[in-house]
């Protein structure tokens, strides 16, 4: 028997009505404002896959995760987790998943250890087992000595790791993480990446949202790029990057307005595209090393001074910009 995909969504759509009907001020003729958070989203994630949902704020990533984790009701379409419909059998879905929220939301009435032990109890794990697992998890996330502490006494990074420990204590098949590294310092982010890689090696399916290109690129086997509730592309990071058009992006900061330099750059061999924004000249080129040297010579030959140079190789970022015309962050 072929195992069902870990995640499957079909034409998933979510429309939020703000403000909710009935709470509109009296006498206002205008109907409720509708916000389309998801528009016909189709996704498939294989069992055991490390999958990323990449997009800017408001792309619909959190809504997608909300629906898959039974906390948001889709307006139309269908969603399945491990082959189970999230609407008709939310209990069976909840049993299979672990969720790391965007903002740490540990139970502040309980201690750090109690957070884990009680969460395990909600999944039917007997207390001695739960305590043993909780202590091991606290050890693995580096806060073994903080078990008796109040949640508020933990740092932001520690609270985030506690959320991961909580999501793992009942040993879920599928782990959902919503922008888990937002607000973490660089070291904490790297530690978290290691933790996630380890969990993936154990065979767990991981679905993570992020708006960091690098994170999606480094961690995920496949990445879905979403924007304004729509799926723009879905592939391995390598395949996506190869689709990034226009080669390497060269940014030159000039003295004075860059607009006049655009024509010069466009006529240059090897340059695919050029545009100016203030004093910055952006050039997409196939052979960046060669083009850059020639371009600088040519600009300086015509009396321009180059203050700064920035090179961006083809990346998810340049792909995203070409797909949406906008920057990610």
């Amino acid at each position: 028997m072929v195992a069902p995909p870990a995640i499957e969504t079909r034409a998933l759509r979510k429309v939020y009505r703000t403000p909710p009907p009935g709470m509109l001020p009296r006498g206002k003729a205008a109907g409720p404002v509708e916000i389309v958070a998801l528009d016909a989203l189709d996704l498939q994630v294989r069992a055991g896959e490390f999958f990323g949902l990449l997009g800017p704020n408001g792309a619909g990533k959190t809504t997608t995760l909300g629906i898959l984790t039974t906390r948001v009701k889709a307006t139309s379409g269908a969603a399945f987790v491990a082959g189970v419909d999230v609407v008709t059998d939310d209990v069976a879905v909840k049993q299979r998943i672990g969720v790391v929220p965007q903002r740490p939301n540990a139970d502040r009435s309980l201690t750090v250890l109690e957070n884990l032990v009680f969460h395990a109890a909600y999944f039917g794990i007997p207390r001695p087992d739960a305590t043993r697992k909780a202590l091991a998890l606290l050890e693995s996330i580096g806060i073994a000595d903080r078990g008796g502490a109040k949640v508020d006494q933990l740092s932001g990074g520690q609270q985030q790791r506690l959320m991961i420990a909580r999501a793992l204590i009942h040993d879920p098949e599928i782990l959902f993480l919503d922008e888990p590294t937002v607000g973490l310092d660089p070291q904490a982010r790297l530690d978290l990446w290691d933790l996630l890689r380890g969990m993936h090696r154990e065979g767990r399916t991981i679905v993570m949202t992020t708006h960091y290109m690098e994170e999606a690129d480094r961690l995920c086997e496949r990445v879905a790029i979403v924007d304004r509730g729509r799926l723009l592309a879905c592939d391995t990071p390598r395949a996506l990057k190869s689709r990034a058009p226009g080669g390497t992006l060269i940014e030159l900061t000039l003295e004075g307005d860059a607009a006049q330099a655009v024509e010069q750059a466009r006529g240059h061999p090897g340059v695919l595209q050029a545009e100016a924004q203030g004093s910055v000249l952006s050039v997409y080129a196939e052979r960046p090393g060669e083009v850059l040297a020639q371009l600088i010579r040519r600009l300086e030959g015509s009396g321009r001074i180059v203050h700064d140079i920035h090179l961006a190789p083809p990346s998810l970022e340049t792909l995203f910009i070409s797909l949406t015309g906008r920057k990610l962050v």
């Binding site: 906390r71 209990v91 939301n105 502040r108 957070n115 009680f118 909600y122």
Partner: protein, 261 residues
């Protein structure tokens, strides 16, 4: 694949969590919910009778009412206040919403936790109030079963009210709503005077029947001072059952709306 967890087991784990938190906060909880009723007992059940402003027999009407207020406030607050925090900015309730049970059961567990805390407050207030007032002639503990029954029904009505208030009222209005609902409820709840006493004022007598506290206080009178006049039992039981059912329905609807967007 793992076997599904029995719902009763999850329910008990959720309840254990609430009781753990409640036990930790028991002192502040009792102070919050019983200090005011007990101070009322000191003034109207101890000081004024001894000054001669209040007839000595007033204690018999007051004690059951005080018990009613205490259990009403405790059950109401035991559900409403945590709900407000849980559904607040951080949505701490999410770890419980992710528990593998239907969310209806999670709301029901909150109500049961509220009922238990109503019992605790009643158990605490009854002996303390009796001690403050001194001997009360009409008081009888012969109907302990009835007393437990009315405590259960009363706590149920106020826990479900707490579910509705804690999830249905926008957080910025909660202070105002508490003042506007709870204060009139206490003063028009026939806690400080028996319902029969309102007979000369028929409009008031029937208007107060929207207030669940009336039935709790009258039920307490029926259980503790059966010799004195009180509302007929069928009316008390029916009213509390109907009110609990209605409040559970609206309370759960509002809980579900907050839990699932």
């Amino acid at each position: 694949m793992r076997a599904p967890v029995p719902a009763t087991r999850v329910f008990l784990a959720l309840l254990a969590r609430d009781l753990r938190v409640a036990r930790r906060e028991i002192v502040s909880f009792l102070v919050r919910t019983t200090l005011q009723p007990l101070l009322f007992v000191v003034v109207f059940g101890y000081l004024l009778p001894r000054m001669g402003f209040v007839q000595a027999g007033y204690g018999a009407a007051l004690l059951p009412g005080i018990l009613g207020i205490s259990l009403a406030l405790s059950s109401l607050q035991a559900v409403a206040l945590p709900m407000m925090a849980d559904f607040g900015w951080t949505r701490e309730i999410e770890d419980r919403l992710l528990a593998p049970v239907p969310i209806r059961l999670i709301a029901a567990e909150k109500v049961v936790a509220g009922v238990i805390q109503g019992f605790v407050a009643a158990l605490f207030v009854l002996p303390v109030a009796r001690l403050i007032m001194g001997p009360i002639e009409a008081l009888s503990f012969a109907h302990a079963g009835t007393l437990l029954g009315i405590t259960l029904l009363g706590s149920l009505a106020f826990s479900t009210l707490g579910l509705w208030m804690g999830t249905g009222i926008p957080p910025q209005q909660i202070g105002l709503m508490f003042s506007m609902i709870v204060a009139p409820m206490i003063f028009f709840g026939c806690a400080y005077y028996p319902w029969q006493g309102l007979t000369p004022l028929p409009v008031v007598k029937y208007a107060v029947l929207v207030n669940p506290l009336v039935f709790v206080a009258e039920g307490m009178r029926g259980a503790l001072t059966p010799g004195l006049p009180h509302m007929p039992w069928p009316l008390i039981v029916l009213a509390l059952l109907v009110m609990s059912a209605v409040l559970w329905t609206v309370g759960y609807r509002s809980f579900a709306r907050r839990a699932i967007s």
